[in-house]
């Protein structure tokens, strides 16, 4: 049946857990594009025939045309949804993505990601006077300036804004400014202690 493989593409992406980016389905896209090409050529031939008289092919032409449109819609939905997920990755992980996620993106998607990073950076720099404003910090309104964190593994020295360094050793607890800790909390080096 026409349009099966395209639907399979979309279903595959839908199955992936919320926000998770599965590997780029190169094969699936290629098959759908081949199907579209075959349909299109078939249609071209039929249209020429229909022009020269055979009017019973018109329904077949209509049907193939609908399939083509359906395939196109599925492919575009697939690509667009992936782009939305990649955009969310920038807000969650920062500028540097973990390796396994990078392998899941096609080269065009990587290109898109870089362009997106650049325009986000330009925008952030243009706000807030001279230094710019980092919009990716503090996604939820913070309750306090400083938070208590506990070190889960040895991380070595860590520098904070006023130039002083802190030695992050396993099982030591620190009371640090929130914005410095967020990165390390996401990486799993520090743990926020709620008391």
């Amino acid at each position: 049946m026409f349009g099966e493989r395209a639907a399979e593409l979309v279903r595959g992406l839908h199955r992936a857990a919320d926000g998770h980016l599965p590997a780029f389905n190169e094969d699936g896209i290629r098959q759908v594009l081949e199907e579209m090409k075959a349909l299109y050529e078939q249609n071209q031939a039929d249209v020429n025939e229909a022009k020269s008289g055979r009017s019973d092919l018109i329904r077949a032409i209509k049907f193939c045309h609908c399939s083509l449109l359906r395939n196109r819609r599925c492919v575009v939905a697939y690509l667009y949804d992936r782009l939305l997920r990649i955009r969310a990755l920038r807000w969650e992980y920062g500028s540097v993505l973990p390796n396994d996620l990078r392998f899941h993106m096609s080269s065009e998607e990587t290109e898109w990601f870089n362009q997106y990073k650049k325009s986000l950076a330009t925008y952030m720099r243009s706000l807030g006077g001279e230094e710019g404003l980092d919009l990716t910090q503090d996604m939820k309104p913070p309750k306090s300036l400083y938070i208590e964190v506990r070190c889960l593994k040895d991380h070595g020295e860590f520098e904070i804004d006023d130039g002083t360094t802190i030695l992050l050793k396993k099982n030591s607890q620190h009371f640090l400014p929130r914005w410095k800790c967020e990165q390390l909390i996401r990486q799993g080096v520090l743990e926020h202690v709620l008391s």
Binding site: Y146, L167, K169, K170, N171, Q173, F175
Partner: protein
Amino acid sequence: MFLSDFRKEFYEVIVAQRVLLLVASDVDALCACKILQALFQCDHVQYTLVPVSGWQELETAFLEHKDQFQYFVLINCGANVDLLEILQPEEDTFFFICDTHRPINVVNVYNETQIKLLVKQDDDFEIPAYDDIFRDEEEDEDDSGNESDRSEPSGKRKRFEEDIMERTMKRRQRREWESAMVMFDLAWIMSKDLNDMLWWAIVGLTDQWVQDKITQMKYVTDIGTLQRHVSRHNHRNEDEENSLSIDCMRIAFEYDLRLALYQHWSLFESLCNTCYTSASLKLWSVQGQKRLQEFFADMGLPLKQVKQKFNSMDISLKENLQEMIEESASKFGMKNLRVQTFSIHFGFKNKFLASDIVYATASLMENIEKDEPGADNFIKALDSLSRSNLDKLHQGLELAKKQLRATQQTVASCICTNLVISQGPFLYCYLMEGTPDVKLFSKPVSLCLLSKYLLKSFVCSTKNKRCKLLPLIVAAPMDVEQGTVIMVGIPPETESSDKKNFFGRAFEKAAESTNSRTLHNHFDMSIIELKMEDRSKFLDALISLLS
């Protein structure tokens, strides 16, 4: 030097700085640390907390962090040795020491710049005057005669100084405030005290009492002090109209039974495993068991009820339980079964006495079950003091029950098999390697508790009048592979004992004279580790030293 105004000379100095907190591994230190952390979080003081369990860890932590911090706060460690000599800090490093270990080293007292002691000067410390101990260089030069004579007079003077140093070292103070209470007092002076901090101060005080480090009189005095704070913070409960919701935390004064963990255990178990009752009733003997049954019969409590979990006991029996037990107990020779204490209450299910929390936190801190490094256990114990970590607290209570049971069984077996021998100037007991639960006693606080229970029970069981006044040394295997033994010395059990312990110096001297391989790693100098082979000659040296 001693600080007089803690707020100006300590808190306002460090509030603008980054501070390193070095905290020793005992419950009083944990409570003081929690109070100080709460104050720091209120004022946004950037701090780093490093747990230390001995002098070596203290030195390592200092070396790692000395480039990054200038202000160090030491809780329950550091007062009883010459800190500057051990750590060799830079000129601009400052140490604030809040420590209950006595005697305070004279160098720490007379250092004007770098060492500040957060100690309440309630009464005289019997510290000799500065001039008696330290002599100026110029005096030496003026007094010296010929070149040849020079060595001799200064030699004599040096010996004289050392003499005074020794006498000073042995001097002990009468009263001291627990670290947790010092911190709470600081918070109160700054009007930043909360009910939570008051509870931690209560737990710190109760810990010192449970470990027998303060006298009964001091305990009662401090309870009185805290009672004023408790009524100030918790008066809203009496007023019917404006009372707080049941989920809010409230502290109440209790004149409650001295039985360990009895509300979270069964009454029977608690009576068997509390040192006071077990020693008075002599529960290690058959007659003791009979006496226990008589005790319950006297109170009219059926055995079936008493062996059940306390919460499931009949309400009619629980109603006047405390008065009933007190009456019957005085017939059996236990006059002080009730003691003044506080309890905390939040939610419908959660009611704990201060001593419950002490036992739970202490067992969490010395948990040997999973063989984790000490710092992990410290963190768990620190967490269990917050009210949002009830599961850790319950875990601690279960561990505490195991520990109390093990302690009681070990004491019973030691008394029954006469393992406590009199060596002349002291009593001695060695726990063999095959003893059940001996691994539990490879930790200092557990071993100290065991020793105190053992001494109390021994005093109740022996007929020898002289032996009742002797101190006790207990040794237990610490690490079987390395062949080390941990040894603890505790003062004798007397009615008016002021809990002074001179074993620290004695151990040091004995180790020196016999060249034993000892490690004086603990902050409390009366706890040492030594190699198994050196045990006998060490003991012989001690005997000759103390007789």
